[in-house]
Symmetry: C2
Subunit: 333 residues, 2 copies
């Protein structure tokens, strides 16, 4: 790759997370699909908030978390996503800038509020998200800064962006600019239900070469190929995608190239607290490695290291310097 | 004590905490007194927020945390404190009600915003607070519901309430009502610098019998009696106060009565993360014990147990059920 100002530009739904613990019964009683991202409207958001226990608020959004992780590792990252000009929007902007990410997207001045996701964490550490998209529905191709895409070695986006109406146009435009500048494009499949909503389009993004690098967890990849057998899904992806990384929770991850697959163990943890952000931080570590000359196994290890930090506390962004953590674990970062 | 609807009514500054980690150098560079509650104005609040790293927001306020801890232990608690009718005010109200605390204080409709405290947590786990009091300055005797005081076995308040102009009148009124109903009044000395600002008034509250139960940490008590010797301060307090509990960090706490003193070990922890809320939760556990027939040593143990939970994660309120935790530790709660 040629010189670049940013290792990675990430594009996603700009969301503030409202996180509380709950018992599994609560999810059943409130019709929340466990482990999924449930889209909700404002009435539902207010009803769920009333039922929710004491919470903490913290900036989130899948691609925002990935950008934060990249910055925490010492990488250069930029972010595109839409907030409103309100309290939560200011919180989101503060947090992503404070960790060192370039964030220039203008705030929506009227209409929708900043997106929020009520995240319920069950005793097993699993998170179940309930997202009101708010201002995110206004993200459009106008928000893509061509120079930012041209200056980024990799442009990474969320599958979640297929939920708002206009964001997919923004992504296709960003991918066009990226490839015209000989840059790479990466995506995460985001959520198995999201894959189910947009399966054909996601497959087309991959087979058409609009996307060069795919991130997914095992459930998402199985959903993409509508199979219960992970090996089958991996083989299918291997045929059409130059590079993919598939996470398998505490079983680590598998890196997929046309040449073959490579299994990498998960990073050990003391205690699983909250899986929110696990996939996002895996992508951060992997992409950091990829843009810093690491081999693919080390990319996967850096992903596992970053994910291990974030699942040992409440909240989807690192609470310690991932750069220091990587150094303590023998990486020359 | 006669029948009561609430074990404890707590009264304090209603604050949302904005918490970030920082290095010690940051405190020096930004003139923040380490370990203290620094009062700031809005300009300073905005400047510090700009300098602050990525943060999480969570309801706080010393007495609010104590009420939350009481509720988490299975006790009955009510709270009085002033928020504004804004986003942070709604967050504060949601969180304290969601944990089961009765909270009826009307929100301030115009003028000041809800109070916020920017809390910087250094690598040693110590927290340094920077508080913009906002709507808290409007708390007045009008906000004291006489019935709530009459129905509460103990009315507990923060020394911090001497900072806003009118709250001390509210406290004196609440104490008058409490004692007229044969109830007890408790206070926390809050902060050694706060003690320094209001030493004479705090001493008068104790010696006059306006306050029956005093909570303090070692630094606050030494500040109250302007001595560097804790034993001297304890002896002085012992002469004028029927019951006090003094916390000493990882050295546990000492319970003081006219009859003598009793040392109780700290509850063991795995890792100190953030001391925010330690004293508040100690008071919660102690007061829960006191209103549930425990002996004083067990009151101190319950205090230590609740404090141990809160210092092992970011944020000043319990993240697990303290009732379950107490049961796991052999308490019949």
């Amino acid at each position: 790759m040629t010189d670049h100002a940013y290792d990675v530009l990430t594009i996603g739904n700009a969301i503030v997370d409202i996180i509380a613990r709950c018992e599994d019964d609560f999810l059943v009683e409130n019709d929340i699909i466990k482990g999924a991202m449930n889209l909700i409207d404002m009435d539902r958001a207010e009803a769920l908030y009333s039922a929710m226990g004491p919470a903490i608020e913290t900036s989130g959004g899948s691609a925002g978390n990935t950008a934060a992780g990249l910055a925490s590792l010492g990488g250069t990252a930029a972010y595109i996503g839409k907030v409103a000009d309100d309290h939560l929007g200011k919180v989101f902007r503060h947090d992503i800038e404070a960790i060192g990410v370039t964030y220039n997207t203008s705030a929506l001045e009227k209409g929708e509020t900043t997106a929020r996701s009520m995240i319920f964490v069950t005793p097993d550490g699993e998170r179940s998200m309930n997202t009101y998209l708010g201002a995110c529905v206004k993200l459009s191709a106008d928000d893509i800064e061509p120079g930012l895409v041209q200056d980024s070695a990799i442009t990474y986006f969320e599958g979640y962006l297929w939920d708002p109406d206009n964001a997919k146009d923004a992504i296709r435009e960003a991918a066009r600019i990226a490839h015209a500048s000989d840059r790479k494009v990466a995506m995460t499949l985001s959520d198995s239900f999201c894959v189910d909503r947009y399966r054909d389009e996601f497959l087309e993004l991959i087979t058409s070469g609009t996307v060069d690098i795919v991130f997914a967890n095992d459930a998402e990849l199985k959903s993409l190929y509508q199979t219960s057998d992970l090996a089958t899904a991996i083989n299918a992806l291997k045929e059409v995608c130059p590079l993919a990384a598939v996470t398998k929770g505490d079983e680590g991850s598998v890196v997929i190239t046309r040449e073959g697959t490579q299994e990498v163990d998960a990073h050990p943890i003391d205690k699983l607290v909250d899986t929110t952000g696990a996939g996002d931080l895996y992508a951060a570590g992997f992409l950091f490695g990829l843009t810093h000359g690491e081999n693919l196994a080390n990319c996967a290890r850096l992903g596992g290291l970053a994910a291990a930090e974030v699942i040992q506390h409440i909240g989807p962004r690192p609470q310690v310097s991932l750069k220091s953590l990587a150094q303590q674990n023998g990486f020359q970062v």
